[in-house]
Each structure stands twice: as C-alpha cells, then as structure tokens.
C-alpha cells in the first residue's frame, strides 16, 4: 500500500512538473524552430531541411544589425556600468553610515521607482531629456534607465554589503586605512559577486527595454534591437515571420547566456536568502 502511494505521488510530481514546464516553455517553442524554417510560418514544426538562410537575410539588414550589435550594446552596457557603479557605492555608504530610517527609505524608494519609473513618468522624462538636449542620444536613454533601475539595484546590493562582517572594516580602521582604501581593498573585492549579479540584472533589463528608447530616440540609426525587430515587415505591412524569428533568436541569445552564467556562478535565486 505504502509503496503504491509513493509511486502515485512520484507520478503526480512528474505530471505536475511537466505541466509547469509546458506552460512556461511551449509559447516559446516557435522561437526555436521558426528561425531555421525555409518558408514563413506561425506553426511549430521541426523543419525537414533546416536552413541558415534566414540568418543570412537578417545580416543583410544593416539597420537591424547595427541596432543589435551597436546600439543595444551601448545602451545595455552603459546602463550596466552606471547602475552597478552607483548602486555599489550607494549601498556601501548606506550600509556603513548611521542613518535612522534608512531601511524604510530604500524600501519606499523602490516602491516609488515602481510607480514613477513605469509608464507614468514618460512625459516628464521626455521633457527632461528634451531640456537637457538628450533626446535622440544613447546617453539620455542610459541615464533614464539608470534612474529607474537604481533603487531596485541598491535594494539587491544591500544584502551583499550587509553580509560583510563589520570586523573586517574595523580591523582596517584600527590599522589606519582610509574609507576609500577600505572600500577598494576590502569591501569591493568581497561584494564582487553582488556587483556581478546587479550588473547582469541591469544589462538584461536594459537589453530588453522598449518603451523608453521608443520615447527618447528619434533617428532610426540610434534605435535598439527591440525597435529594429519591427523592421522585418513586408511591403504589405505584415511581419516576415521567419526573419522576425531569426532576429528575435539572435536578440534573445545574450539573455539566455547571461542567465546561464549567473545560474552557474551564483545559482539563480534570491541572492543571499531573505530575512523574515
């Protein structure tokens, strides 16, 4: 009886898991087959004669390639540098300074950025960029993305910083090290995993950004891949599915790779566990 039950529950676990996997993966299967299919289709079918022709045609579209390999790298790389630098300094300063209410402050800022950083602030952000002559510049997009991502990044980084024992820095203080020196010699090397996680998180977020670049950029030459994806349309105005899929495939690959990297190096989870 007992054995029967455990077989039953094992079967249930497998079925439940497969249902979950199917729910999350089936909608994406088309992205895996369509790029290698010769004729345009919306169906998921394993191509009889897989081809790389679609990728070749994608590479002929210099506008889309420039978007992916130049504009996207500039925007995502720039935001990554900005956010990880500023968030690292801020979370360190925040953690190591006596400041009443600082936990609440970070939490509120994060909620605030969820509210303001979303679609609500599009107009003032646009006007701000306009007044600063940042419209149609990558710097403008980078700055706006940084502003929106920063509170959450500080929130994530804080726990990496808090996990450094205070005695490490106190020892350095006793032995005469200055704050900057302590940060460079001791704190930074120890929070590098956190910096890496926040950097990758920012990169992936900025890499996929659509709305802010659309609002902030004018010249097609500056558009990122999320906008360039809409350039694979026929003259009749309908998407050429095979090319869209091939481009989307290329566009999605870095995200997949970075996910695997984080998962392999740190384990993709809520880093550092959560306090209850």
């Amino acid at each position: 009886m007992r054995e029967y039950e455990s077989h039953l529950s094992k079967a249930f676990i497998i079925v439940f898991s497969l249902v979950c996997v199917a729910f999350f993966s089936v909608p994406l299967l088309w992205l895996l087959t369509a790029p290698f299919t010769p004729k345009t289709t919306l169906a998921v079918e394993i191509p009889a004669n897989p081809t790389l022709e679609n990728f070749r045609r994608v590479f002929d579209n210099s506008f889309a390639i420039r978007a992916l390999f130049r504009n996207n790298l500039i925007i995502a790389g720039g935001a990554m540098l900005m956010v990880s630098t500023v968030a690292t300094l801020a979370s360190y300063g925040l953690s190591r300074t006596r400041l009443p209410g600082k936990n609440t402050l970070v939490y509120v800022l994060m909620l605030f950025s969820s509210v303001v950083g979303g679609t609500a602030a599009m107009v003032p952000l646009f006007l701000l960029a306009h007044n600063l002559h940042l419209i149609d510049t990558h710097l403008g997009v980078i700055l706006v993305l940084t502003g929106g991502l920063l509170p959450a990044a500080i929130f994530m980084m804080r726990d990496f910083v808090e996990s450094i024992p205070r005695s490490y820095e106190e020892a350095a203080i006793v032995y005469g090290a200055s704050p900057l020196r302590i940060f460079c010699d001791i704190a930074f090397p120890l929070i590098r995993p956190g910096v890496a996680v926040v950097a990758i998180w920012t990169f992936v977020n900025a890499w996929g950004a659509f709305l802010i670049p659309v609002v902030m950029l004018r010249n097609p030459k500056n558009m990122p891949a999320s906008v360039a994806l809409y350039s694979f349309y026929s003259e009749a105005g309908t998407p050429i599915h095979t090319l869209v899929a091939a481009y989307a495939f290329l566009y999605g690959i870095p995200v997949l790779v970075l996910y695997l990297l984080v998962n392999w190096r740190f384990g993709f989870r809520f880093f550092g566990g959560i306090k209850s």
């Binding site: 106190e170 203080i173 090397p189």
Partner: protein
C-alpha cells in the same frame, strides 16, 4: 609601552547605557581582562579604547595623550577580533602585512617583517595560503601576527579564543600569555570565560550592566568576591548564595526559617558590619562544605537532589528546605539520591552580603 586611563566613561546606545561611568587604569605592560556576561559592556569598553566608539561622557587617555576623540589610527592600538577579521580574498602574507601596506611600507620590507613575525608564531610556511585554507588556531595566530606587525603600544583582544575548540583554546591561552610577557605590551582582553580570565590576566575587571563590579588580581576576585554578582559569576560551579537572616545576639544565621548555623565563634568578625535583620545572603563555595552521613554538632540536614561525577570528585547538589546547595566532594563514593545527609559549612570561609548585594565586613 603605555598605560591606559578611563575616567568616568559613559557610552549610550539610544536608551541603553552600555558603559556606565567606568573609571579604570591599566598600568604600563599590564595584562587586564574585562570579564562579564554578554551585554555587560566589556566589548564596548574595549571598542571605546580602540576608538571604534566615541564615549558620550568621560575621557580616555593612552600613555600621556588624551585620545577621547581621536580616530583609531591615531591611537596606536592593535586589535585582535573575535572572528579574527582576516580578509578571505587575501593570503596570510597580505593579511598580516596589511597594516604595513596601509602605512606605505614597501613590498619587500613588508614581506621581510611579516615573515619574521610569522616564523615566531610558527605560521611562517603558511603565508601563501588564504585564511580558509588554514585551521582555526592558525587563523588566530595570523590575526595576532597582524597585530604584532603593527607594533602598537596597546593590544586589544576581543574574545579571541571563543571560536576555538576546547583543546586549542588551552594551547592558545599559554601562547598568548607567553607572548604578552615577551613583548611586554599593555593588553586589554575581553572574555566571558572566567577560567580564561583567571589564567591570563594580571588583574581582572568584572563588569555587569555597564558597571565595574570588582577589580582585583585573579585570586582576590575568586576568593573574596566583592558582591553577589561576582560571587555567582566566578567559579565553576559558582558559589552557593543562600538568603538568610542573622540573629547576632543568639549568634545564629538562620535560613529558610528552620536551618540555623551557629556563628557565635565568628561573632567578632561580623558584628562590626552588620546589624540584626532579615535581608542577607550567605555565600559559600561548594568546596568549603563537607558532607557527613550522620548528624554531628553544627551540621544541618539535607536531601541529596542530584549527583554529578566530575572524575576524581563529585558535585553533589543537596536540597536544604527550598534552597539547593552544591557541594564538591573529594572522595571515591557519593551518597545515593534522596538520602538525608548532614552538611557542615566552613564558617571561616563564608561571606555575608547585604541587601544591596555588597560584601559585608
């Protein structure tokens, strides 16, 4: 080296008074232990000396300089932390040499000085390893080595042995004591372990609730606890403390109403300090009570409550009325449970504490 002077030092954290009006002088070259339960203010006192905390009131002096508001690096102190604070991303060489690196000493000279100190502490061949690759005892030595390299006037130890297992701790004790004598540096040592404090220190400062309860050399503190707190903190097992009243005219100490001790012979010793009254505490160490299987004059009856073999001796806990009394018994056999035995107190070695907990006489 240098003496350390704390005058009326107070440190508050919000509502909590961590260090309350502490005055203490540590002599040049002396090894002083700050002893007390967790939260008694001993670590805060140490951190005040280090400059990691700034007092709300009072002044601190190291050598002839007032340092109350100076940052740590200008105080010329070295500190060994409870978790050793060795940096996991640096080799032992870089860890030990870090104070020199901060001071701008060249790499070559740094390596030379670190190697010299490390060899003295028998970790010379581990210098290329990282902290995680050496044992706890070796980490502890490395953290002492870092303090030595710093060549400070004052050494501060924050429970440096509490992360070691029992055997290593005994070894490390001997090593630290030897080292401190050899270097001749002034040392302040925080611990909650009374045996460690007794073993290491020239003088012990017992603290509780941010206040100094007693200062004295180890034997003094052990054999003449100045108050019931020190009496209950020092010794393992601690001193028996029995609420009692004293009838001086009759020459008796009465506890639990029924049990009387004849103090006629000691009346002289006590009469100066006490008056008749209900609220006293009688203190006696377990080794100063003896057990007799039969009633003798001057003994009081009790029941055996628990018996613990300690190897070569016994700890017998007996029940006298509502009180439990521990007795150390140096003999081969212990009385069986629930047996009635008679206790004889060595009255010359009892202490009487007043209602404020302070030692009388």
């Amino acid at each position: 080296m240098a003496k350390i002077l704390l005058e009326h030092v107070t440190k508050r954290f919000g509502e909590l008074i961590a260090v309350n009006d502490v005055t203490l002088e540590v002599h040049d070259g002396e090894f002083v232990a700050l002893l007390g339960p967790s939260g008694c203010g001993k670590t805060t006192t140490l951190r005040l000396i280090a400059g990691l905390e700034v007092p709300n009131a009072g002044r601190i002096q190291i050598g002839e300089r007032e340092v109350t508001h100076l940052p740590p690096r200008e105080r010329d102190v070295a500190m060994v932390f409870q978790d050793y604070a060795l940096y996991p991303h640096m080799t032992l060489l870089d860890n030990i040499g870090y104070p020199l690196k901060v001071r701008g000493v060249g790499r070559r000279e740094m390596v030379g000085r670190v190697t010299e100190v490390a060899q003295k502490l028998q970790i010379g061949d581990l210098l290329q390893r990282r902290p995680a690759q050496v044992s706890g005892g070796q980490q502890q030595r490395a953290s002492v080595a870092r303090a030595l390299v710093h060549q400070a006037q004052v050494f501060l130890f924050d429970e440096p042995l509490s992360n070691l297992d029992a055997k290593l701790r005994l070894e490390a004790r001997a090593f630290l004591k030897h080292l401190q004598r050899e270097v001749g540096v002034t040392a302040v040592y925080v611990t909650h372990d009374q045996a460690e404090a007794m073993a290491l220190a020239d003088r012990i400062v017992v603290m509780n609730y941010g206040k100094i309860m007693q200062i004295g050399d180890p034997l003094q503190v052990y054999s003449r606890p100045a108050n019931t707190f020190v009496a209950s903190f020092m010794g393992n097992p601690p001193m028996n403390l029995l609420p009692c009243r004293v009838d001086l005219a009759a020459g008796k100490i009465i506890f639990d109403d029924d049990y009387m001790l004849d103090i006629a012979a000691h009346r002289e010793r006590w009469s100066a300090a006490i008056s008749n009254g209900p609220q006293f505490t009688l203190g006696i160490r377990p080794e100063h009570i003896s057990i007799s299987p039969t009633q003798l004059p001057g003994t009081i009856p009790s029941q055996v409550y628990a018996v613990q073999p300690l190897g070569g001796e016994w700890l017998v806990v007996t029940q006298v009325g509502r009180e439990l009394v521990s007795v150390r018994l140096f003999q081969d056999e212990a009385p069986p449970l629930a047996e009635t035995v008679w206790l004889r107190f060595d009255l010359a070695r009892t202490f009487l504490y007043g209602s404020d907990g302070e030692l009388l006489q």
